[in-house]
């Protein structure tokens, strides 16, 4: 866990640097080495690590728009994930997906950038496991802002009535972009919604990694043993803006301070020290994580960009042949030019 958490934190610090390069002094979203939006998860690490610690490669995870800490904890290939984020040919998706669309079938990891829409596919993975009589489980991660979305609520019911091996993990960081939780729902403890579907619900009121780990152990265990789904909410923190470039004008200074004050990584380090892990050992974990990250980023940056023709591939696994579209070249854009 500690390893995953420091890896995720350092990884995103490095991504942030890279992302901002070429976007200074004026922030231009389409400049610099990393394309598109970037949602960083500093303050969320305990949830990804604490939950995924119980998962095997054949367990499925779906993540939302803020996926890195979860992907790392699930064991997604760090180099190919980084290459994907940099939009390179050897990326997980050959540069077609990007940071919100990380897919790694080797560890059954997938994303959707649409709020709550990772839930139904996770339920489907649980359904497949049940049908095939394996003890694999599926976990859907989402933010607290996503719990008002129909796709999530419907998924609770479907998972419950079918008694599927699914865990829904709500990362409650108090904010959905600029909207504080209390502005969009009256419910303080999102896991209460489980009751209305006769499902087990539980909330961890802070992000002490060990407590998250234990709650997740119960939830994943329940799923693996055929005892049905769980809705698990975890209080996490949002140490940064919603996405890179978010000036957070809407957010009180104190709130940022409060979120930064309690750092789950430091707390876990303290816990570990109490259990006899030495500072040297912790440093070693951290350094080796940093090396791995640096290496992945260096590697990714050396990778070639995809050839423009690759844009036409992979629409279908089983592509149709023929048709005038194939011959047509009028759509082959080279450059927008005016921006």
């Amino acid at each position: 866990m500690y390893d995953d958490m420091v890896t995720a934190r350092y990884y995103e610090e490095r991504l942030q640097e890279e992302y901002l390069e070429g976007k200074q002094p004026a922030f231009d979203i389409s400049a610099g080495p990393i394309p598109g939006e970037l949602h960083l998860a500093a303050g969320h690490e305990a949830s990804g690590a604490g939950v995924c610690a119980h998962l095997r490669d054949d367990d499925t995870v779906t993540a939302p728009h803020r996926p890195h800490h979860i992907a790392i904890a699930k064991g997604v290939d760090l180099k190919r994930m980084t290459a994907e984020i940099f939009g390179r040919e050897t990326g997980l998706s050959k540069g077609k997906g990007g940071h919100m669309h990380l897919f790694d079938p080797d560890v059954n990891f997938a994303c959707s950038g649409i709020i709550a829409q990772g839930c139904p596919p996770a339920v489907g993975a649980g359904l497949a496991a049940k049908k095939r009589n394996t003890d694999a489980v599926a976990v859907a991660f989402l933010g607290e802002g996503a719990i008002d979305q129909g796709g999530f609520l419907e998924s609770l019911n479907f998972a419950s009535v079918q008694n599927l091996p699914v865990v829904f993990v709500v990362e409650d960081n108090d904010w959905a972009i600029s909207m504080p939780k209390e502005r969009v729902t009256d419910v303080r403890d999102g896991s209460k919604r489980a009751d209305g579907f006769e499902m087990h619900g539980e909330r961890v009121d802070h992000d002490d990694a060990v407590d998250v780990y234990e709650a997740a152990e119960r939830a994943v265990g329940r799923a693996r043993d055929g005892n049905g789904p769980t809705l698990l909410e975890v209080q996490v923190h949002r140490r940064m803006g919603h996405f890179m470039g978010d000036a957070e004008a809407y957010r009180p200074e104190e709130d940022v301070e409060r979120h930064k004050a309690r750092d789950s990584i430091e707390r876990l380090a303290e816990d570990l020290r109490k259990h006899g892990i030495t500072d040297d050992e912790l440093d070693e974990i951290r350094e080796s994580a940093e090396n791995r990250v640096d290496h992945a980023i260096d590697w990714a940056k050396e990778q070639p960009e995809p050839a423009s023709d690759a844009a036409y591939e992979d629409v279908f696994a089983n592509p149709p042949t023929g048709g005038v579209d194939e011959a047509s070249s009028t759509t082959a854009a080279t450059d927008g030019g005016e921006e």
Partner: protein, 340 residues
Amino acid sequence: MAQTQEAAERELTMSRAMVEAVAQEMREDDDVFLMGEDVADYGGIFSSATDLGEEFGHDRVMDVPISETSYIGAGVGAAQAGMRPIVELMFVDFFGVAMDQIYNNMAKNTYMSGGSVNVPMVLTTAVGGTYNDAAQHSQTLYGTFAHLPGMKVVVPSTAYDAKGLMHTAIRDDDPVVYMFHKRLMGLGWMPSPSGPKTDVPEDAYEIPFGEADVKREGSDVTVVTLGLHVHRAMAAADALADDGIDTEVLDLRTLVPLDTDAVLDSVRKTGRLVVVDEDYRSFGVTSEIAALAAEHALDDLEAVQRVAIPDVPIPYARPLEDEVIPGVDDIEAAVRAVRE
């Protein structure tokens, strides 16, 4: 001998043919399963699953809550996990409650993953009007689905095609939207025209996607259409033949992939094109076919007309619905018009 003959000449309704393909694939492959509303005991409101629940049980022919986002999305997840779900959206008109799963996940995950995952799923759905079910239960929405990339779109017009296209759909490694027209299913309570009931081989067979079917050869005018309107076009062609007008009728059968060659070859031959569709006229199927002809066969093209729903929601009362859904007369009139 008698048996062979029977097999060869066995006539099925479109519903029976479609269900037979599903049953055969389910017998072959444990990964194939079916879910939808009212499929288990009812057998599908439009008989798209008749008797399947009995043969395969409720685990493989699953009734689901009325929550299309969750169960269609569950189909996507199960497909990505390697199963081959067939998922039914009861009426295509309900797509709006679940479109995100359909077009942003089912249709795009293959591409967004650079091909590292794929989604071998069939989304079946009932389409079409002609029985006065009004604006929220009578649409075909062919163009809506065909416009968005990443899903194959299949529209059978006969029992023979329904079975073959269903086998292909289930075996295909990509998401396939299989749109069956209610009026063609051969339901006891909604009489079909005579065309869709055809001989159907008992053994499994595939009909490749992207191959239009020339239902009738002709030299004067090309009519390109699909679904129910194949039969209306054939009726129009018969009537026109009496006046010495020789109409070629093309059944597209699949919209994605689209058999552009067949369309263009026919247009180059006849020079006159009528496109007939039961979807809304603008920004849809008729637009696409007419545009293709203009882009690629302009020199041969002497006239084009589109016959489709005139960009109004589908009204309830009979005279109103009859007005907006293209009839045999309308096709005839359009064919005559492009010859002038």
